[in-house]
């Protein structure tokens, strides 16, 4: 930030509010974890994968077929979801079946959908 940047010299910043705001801010690590998690939801392909996994355990080629995606693309994205423990998987012979780790994911997406739908009404 430039030193001579003149920002709110008189009334502002409203120190009490600023101090309160600072307290509410999550820790650095929480922010990182949160943004990393949201990054995973922030891509169409991954979001579609997550959404179809909400109700069904599916193997990689099921996902390719259901979403009409390249196998390599699907595997790459599944790796990211795996690394962040959003999905779990089990091998059955040559196939590997993926499913969601827990139901927070579903709740987050339905909250977001509610927001979208309310926006749509306006």
């Amino acid at each position: 930030m430039k030193e001579n940047q003149y920002v709110c010299l008189e009334n502002c910043p409203h120190y009490n509010k600023v101090e309160e705001a600072k307290v509410k801010e999550p820790t650095r690590n929480q922010i990182l974890s949160l943004s990393n998690m949201f990054k995973l939801f922030a891509d169409d392909t991954r979001l579609r994968i997550i959404c179809v996994l909400i109700k069904e355990e599916l193997c990689v080629c099921d996902l390719c077929e259901a979403l009409k995606l390249n196998q390599s693309t699907v595997s790459h994205q599944l790796q990211l979801l795996r690394n962040s423990n959003l999905v779990k998987y089990r091998r059955e012979g040559k196939q590997i079946f993926y499913s969601l780790q827990d139901d927070h994911v579903e709740r987050i997406i339905s909250q977001a959908l509610e927001h979208i739908l309310e926006e749509g009404k306006k």
Copy 2:
């Protein structure tokens, strides 16, 4: 997808499961709206801005001060949040005060935080 890409020729895809999965998938527009919304949460700076706005209405320079960010950076990010109706604002003289549009945002973030915290325990 390459034509000769051999993917699950025998048992797979499990057509009934794939069909069910397809049904659960949100529409193209819903996916776009959802991923756009999550993109906004997927950046450290924006996430910090959102988090401090959860409890406090703040003006731009308050945000700069609370988060130690460049004024230009803050304004750019606020523009994105504004365009997606995640925040609202009101002018009071020379200052412009920002706050969250509704409380879905807060709920989404707390759900995500719950997930993070549970992960932390393992």
